[in-house]
Symmetry: C2
Subunit: 351 residues, 2 copies
DNA sequence: CTGAAAGCGCTTACAG
DNA sequence: CTGAAAGCGCTTACAG
């Protein structure tokens, strides 16, 4: 037992075959499809393997199978941010569970220094799940060029791109409707900015949510042009959520409610506001999106939209494995839409 | 461009060789060691490769090299907890950076359903870094049996186990000394409990930190036997940090200071205390350990011990690559000790 | 039920 | 500088 190389070689399939007296074929079957050999052969082989501590070399197996037995998850943000976003982590957990039950591995692919394309081309995976903003055309194309299947979560559903989403437009409508119903008319909306990719601002969930907000706003005669409605952007981090508060407070008419597209950003706001002497919800209300666990830990609890994050991962992964198993064009339904609901806590007050 | 299989085959080294008119050997050299072929050969080959979109199949390459080009990081907690621990994530970031600069991949290995051993035996990695509690003998042995090198972070330095640590005993002494110097004599200490493995409680950083605390306590005539000193355990999660507060408040003598071994737990405490009507630091002080970014976001800021988390990852990875490059017994220094320092904010008050 | 043999796509001594 | 060839350890049609 030492941290350094011990140079004893591992046993190979040849060793097991020789010692057990059976062929390599039989040894392979013993591990992968025991029904194809006799009970006795299997027992003997597995016994020998056991004593020699043998198990098939995964690298050789993958090479032979021409399969990585791994699926990739293209993260929307750098690792350190993605890791700190519980919503994303829930999605990861869901994907991970399915991968594990399928004997696959989950490879996280961060958008490394602007060369997502390179990552996509070379990642050791058989298929990919793309999260959010990253689901743009350029990425989709380069995965397509590689010839592996993929599914998008929070992307732009389209003919060619299988997807898992909630009804973002409706969800945004629901929360904005509740905010307005509580009497708020001076509102700051904080959208998600995205440093990695470009088109996302005018497509995808951002756009759909903005539409949902607008629909609710119009019902009370407001609009993005109204002087009481201002729109900001923030990266999806607590730190940026804090900073955006400072920007919000520079505008002439102080909003009575901050509507965010992410709990993480909302939490940033709730941490910053009291430092500036504003109490939530007495002086200002805040609402979030996602319903991550942490929304229970804020004081007051955060009113938000619940979405089934882990479930999104699970369904995306299942969809992907279904595609991986398919031979040709018999694709089933390639779009999944999950339900959402509002979670009312105390960060939103009547006004 | 479609989410489904396109069945066009990738070009192989044979295609490039045939089309360029050079041998497979030459093609391989063009990618891996251009100095071994002529300028002209290299240009031609790379040109052909470019037009065919060829790059060496990583799976075949790894198989041929008998190397995964990946190093494993054995996490101390389940994925969802590890991901939410910024200290761990900093370590991951450090390891990741070094891996990337070495053209390697980082594989995170969670302690899946108690079968760490199985994970360790089969993980597709060339070497491993073990974090914290997981660095026990059983694990070390099974990695050793596999014959790959490893390094422990926050483990138990020993002859056989290369390690990266801070001086945990001294760090614990330092913070406890400061607490006592501020006049506190009624103290709750919260150690790290660990569901995954057994021996950790009496070994490793836990033990060393307890020793450091004790040394400081003794200087003012206190001891773990003293009625004013109580010791609790908490898993390293915000949720558990919150819960431990409730347990602390059941004891007859209410502590004036809570000394934790992790900022995450300290933050849990700071979130729970005001809910029970106790203000920090007026009614009760809290100190942490690690100095994660989030300690700046608590109100008041958290007094804690800074440790160079990312640096730990960087150095552990470098050490590992050095071992990987070594032939035999010429190991250099296999133990690294990094500096720590106190960070004084406002969560600790005079009493 | 069993086994000989081809094949997966690279790398790399070795000989020229 | 160049190339023919062995080898990495599996899987799996195929023939018996």
């Amino acid at each position: 037992m030492t941290g350094h190389h011990s140079l004893k070689k591992r046993a190979t399939i040849n060793d097991i075959a020789r010692i057990s007296g059976y062929s390599k074929t039989a040894v392979s079957f013993a591990f992968n499809d025991p029904s194809r050999i006799s009970r006795q052969a299997c027992d003997t082989i597995l016994g020998v393997a056991e004593t020699l501590g043998y198990y098939p070399d995964p690298l050789a197996r993958k090479f032979s199978l021409q399969r990585h037995e791994s699926i990739g998850f293209l993260l929307p943000q750098e690792l350190r941010f993605s890791f700190r976003n519980p919503y994303i982590m829930q999605v990861v957990e869901g994907i991970g569970d399915v991968c594990q039950e399928r004997g696959n591995t989950l490879t996280l692919i961060p958008p490394l220094n602007a060369s997502v394309i390179a990552a996509v081309r070379t990642a050791a995976v058989d298929a990919m799940i793309i999260q959010g903003m990253s689901a743009n055309m350029e990425i989709a194309e380069s995965i397509g060029r590689r010839g592996i299947p993929f599914v998008s979560i929070d992307g732009i559903p389209s003919e060619e791109m299988p997807s898992v989403n909630i009804d973002d437009r409706q969800a945004a409508y629901d929360i904005m409707h509740t905010v307005l119903e509580s009497g708020h008319r001076e509102i700051a909306i904080i959208g998600l900015s995205d440093v990695s990719y470009e088109r996302s601002a005018t497509e995808g969930i951002q756009k759909r949510r903005m539409e949902g907000y607008l629909e609710a706003l119009r019902e009370v005669g407001l609009d993005y042009g109204s002087p009481s409605i201002t729109v900001f952007k923030s990266e999806c981090t607590v730190a940026q959520g804090r900073q955006v508060v400072d920007r919000i407070l520079t505008i002439p008419r102080r909003p009575t409610c901050i509507v965010t597209m992410s709990d993480i950003v909302a939490i940033g706001c709730m941490l910053r506001l009291p430092e500036l002497g504003l109490r939530v919800p007495r002086d200002i209300s805040v609402v979030g999106f996602d319903n991550i666990d942490e929304t229970n830990y804020t004081l007051p609890g955060l009113t938000t939209v619940h979405q089934p994050s882990k479930e999104k991962g699970v369904l995306a992964a299942r969809l992907l494995f279904r595609m991986l198993g398919q031979t040709g064009e018999d694709r089933g339904d390639i779009h999944v839409r999950l339900p959402h609901h509002l979670v009312i806590r105390d960060s939103l007050s009547r006004v």
